[in-house]
């Protein structure tokens, strides 16, 4: 189960992106849009959980200055 605050934060961040932008995830047959990523987070699927985990880690890394904004 994903923490509600984390889920809300990650969805809010993903909603700032172009919803039609596409990524290719090895393991999936076709492209995944940002909109699909948000759906995965909402469903709390394994992919959704991974997106939340990495988004939170990404935010922390940016905030720490390890990678500049």
């Amino acid at each position: 189960m994903i923490d509600d605050d984390a889920k809300t934060l990650v969805i809010a961040r993903l909603e700032t992106l172009n919803q039609d932008s596409k990524i290719l995830l090895m393991g999936e047959k076709g492209p995944t849009t940002v909109k699909d990523m948000i759906d995965e987070v909402r469903k709390e699927s394994p992919l959704g959980k991974k997106i939340v985990e990495l988004q939170l880690s990404y935010i922390k890394t940016l905030a720490s200055g390890a990678i500049d904004l």
Binding site: L17, D20, I23, L25, M26, G27, K29, V34, L54
Partner: protein, 219 residues
Amino acid sequence: MKKLILITRPSYDTPTHYLHFISGELKKEIEFVGEVSVIDLETNKATRKEFEKALDKANPRLVLFHGHGSYDSISGQNGEILLDKRNVKKLKSRIIYAVVCDSASELGETAIRSGEAEAYVGYDSRFVIVIDPERSTTPMNDKNFKPFKDTHKKLILSLISGINLEVSVERTKKHIRELIREYGVRGIKDKYGDAPLIRFALYWNLMSLKVHGNGNAVF
């Protein structure tokens, strides 16, 4: 005698189409330099039978996988399993770089422990690429794809040049961090507003890239 690299590069859906392109460009570059020979198992040759035959007959030092995968297997053309625990012993004494998803979490460890591979580099989560929404069938013209192509090439060319695995991976990670910075700070041409997603996808690959086995391994 030239050193040998075995490359598997199926192509049957959009993700494998992109990886087929990436590895094709890399192959051309390696062949242009001429110091290393490439065994190219592309499309219909990316089968388990051809893969095992190439390992047994040619004995390549470095094996580069491209395509789909899972925690415990790597696929070839049309999803045929090329590598799993049943034939992992064929990786003995080799260096592996698997540009497939998830394989570094379990298969990577199995390759070292049971297969006695010297080293295994791969991703313990999905391998991610951002594509230009308008060019998903022409990777050659896809600008969003470029940073992912560059990082892939960086690791392999570094290894081939004789730099050990650990340093090659660290250099690649440094390059990924620089790209994340570059896509955030500088005025990158970003027609579709994809730069923030490219940065996140690069970060995803950075965090998923893992090494098992001997970090001092040299090609």
